[in-house]
């Protein structure tokens, strides 16, 4: 059985058809890229899967259970977690405090007005573990709002990792990053997929990254699915070349 299945999913906003007839299935452990020009519906697709709003047509199932009308909070508990195009972290808190909120939430401690020494230690240990995974240990006591854009995105990934996601949705994880930051993020995505075995969907504009790390690629255009396949198939697909990549072709991008 497939891990995540979208069956003829569509979404209208009034007269606007943002997405229509999207059918795709993602296997467990897969690293899937969603690409397409601006306005293709990539973020809308993420919003549907993460429960930001429901689809107006079609069905979504996750681990065999329907999640079409399930709210985001419940989806988080089932293991679907996302990041946003605009980094959503706790800007005036330190990196440590950012991760602490996430870890305490993941441990279900939010309602507790006090915790035992042992629980405090467990929280601290998990924070250290997450900081090590995303490699932000050296900046733990810096205020998040003071960090570079790239580091803030890394903090956000640390936050969502606290919840031990089964399916991670990353919306343009390398947008606005410099070369070094992009390398760090790409490496992080690959490691999370291979070492933590997290299934991932990511929207990305940088073709070098997409063709470099994605297992499979889904191409959207104008709210419709244009193509799906591995890097070689997508690169060779003439419809993708003309509709999405235009005259530049894949030679330059990849």
């Amino acid at each position: 059985m497939s891990f995540l299945v979208l069956d003829s999913v569509g979404r209208r906003f009034g007269a606007l058809r943002a997405l229509s007839d999207i059918s795709l299935s993602v296997e467990s452990g897969e690293l899937r890229a969603i690409i397409g020009p601006n306005g293709a519906g990539k973020t809308t697709l993420f919003n549907l899967i993460s429960g930001f709003f429901p689809p107006t047509e079609g069905n979504i199932t996750f681990e065999g259970a329907p999640i079409t009308a399930v709210n985001p909070t419940e989806l988080v508990h089932r293991g679907i977690i996302r990041t946003f195009q605009i980094t959503e972290i706790f800007l005036s808190l330190t990196v440590y405090e950012n991760l602490r909120i996430a870890v305490e939430t993941a441990m279900g401690l939010n309602l507790r007005p006090w915790i035992s020494r042992a629980q405090r230690a467990a929280v601290a240990e998990r924070i250290a573990e997450l900081a090590a995974i995303v490699r932000i240990e050296s900046k733990l006591h810096r205020v998040a709002g003071e960090l570079s854009h790239g580091d803030q995105r890394v903090v956000e990934i640390g936050i969502v990792l606290a919840k031990s996601p089964k399916l991670l949705l990353l919306d343009e994880p390398t947008a606005g990053m410099g070369d070094e930051e992009t390398r760090h993020m790409t490496d992080l995505i690959r490691r999370l997929n291979k070492e933590q075995h997290i299934t991932m969907l990511f929207v990305e504009h940088d073709m070098a990254i997409v063709f470099g790390i994605a297992d499979r690629i889904t191409v959207l255009d104008n709210g419709k699915m244009l193509a799906e396949g591995n890097a070689a198939e997508i690169a060779a697909n003439p419809r993708v070349q003309s509709a999405y990549l235009g005259d530049a072709g894949l030679g330059n991008a990849a």
């Binding site: 988080v76 939010n110 006090w114 003071e146």
Partner: protein, 332 residues
Amino acid sequence: MTMEIASARTAVAKPPAPGLISRRVLGNVALGLVLLAVPFWLPLVGGYTDLASRVLIYALAAMGLNLLLGFTGGLSFGHAAYFGLGAYGVGLMLKYETHSILLALLVGTLVGGIAATLLGPIAVRRRGIYFAMITIAIGQMFYFLAVRWNSLTGGEDGLTGFSRHPIKLPGLTVPMGSVGFFYLVLVCFGACALLLWTVLNSPLGHTFVGIRENYKRLIFLGVRTKRYLAISFAISGFVVALAGGLNALLDNFTSPNTLNYTLSGDFLIIAVLGGMRNFWGPLAGAVIFILVRDYVSSITDNWMTVIGLIFVLSVLFFPLGILGFFNRKSAS
């Protein structure tokens, strides 16, 4: 805007070294000693003990409100309602039911606190300006209720006919003159400060701060943020209600003005003036607010102009409040 300034000032946040913690403890111990000794040193500098009680009562109310405002990010313009409910609860209990001011305080605190617990969930259904409007609307209902229900509340003339009786404990009677009452206020203030401090350093408090910082992120971590806003609202309501009860005891009187939104505004001014991101900010704000009101109002009726001027200047030059730039992390 404020947030940017906040982080600019704390670019080099240090790890919590043991030395810092003990300095913080020292600071709190020093503050405690200064407060304990108030009846001894205050007359020497021309003050009087009831004035100190008033400062602590307003500080308590503003600290309670500040749990919601400064640490959870909820701007309530209606917290005077819970202050007033506490005040009327205490006044009515003493007038009709009991001579025990402790029992009266308990009932007053429960009345105001439970009202906040029941009404908070309605207000937190909306955010930002709409949240603020709902809190005003709810608060004003109690104001008009107190004005209209003459037979019970004394209407616009206020509630009189009750006074502070000595506290009778087994083997001990504590007189409730100015000094005795000051220590009762100080005990209540200390207990609430400890409670708020504990909450702010717990996962619950961290969740409150997370809501202030980025509620969208918390929702997408699976946190039902409205529930936590309502909890913050309720806790702050209990604390503010206790302050209201103490205020009625201080004056042996309470009036509909203790329920009015203008008093809510005073509490907000106190919290912002002192520093709403700082644990002791509301205390600093209350010292300034009450002292200015006391001394300036003996010179001119327009004391609020002076407060307003101080407020504008402080917002312009110390956007994080008087205590704001000392240590952003005194509570977290």
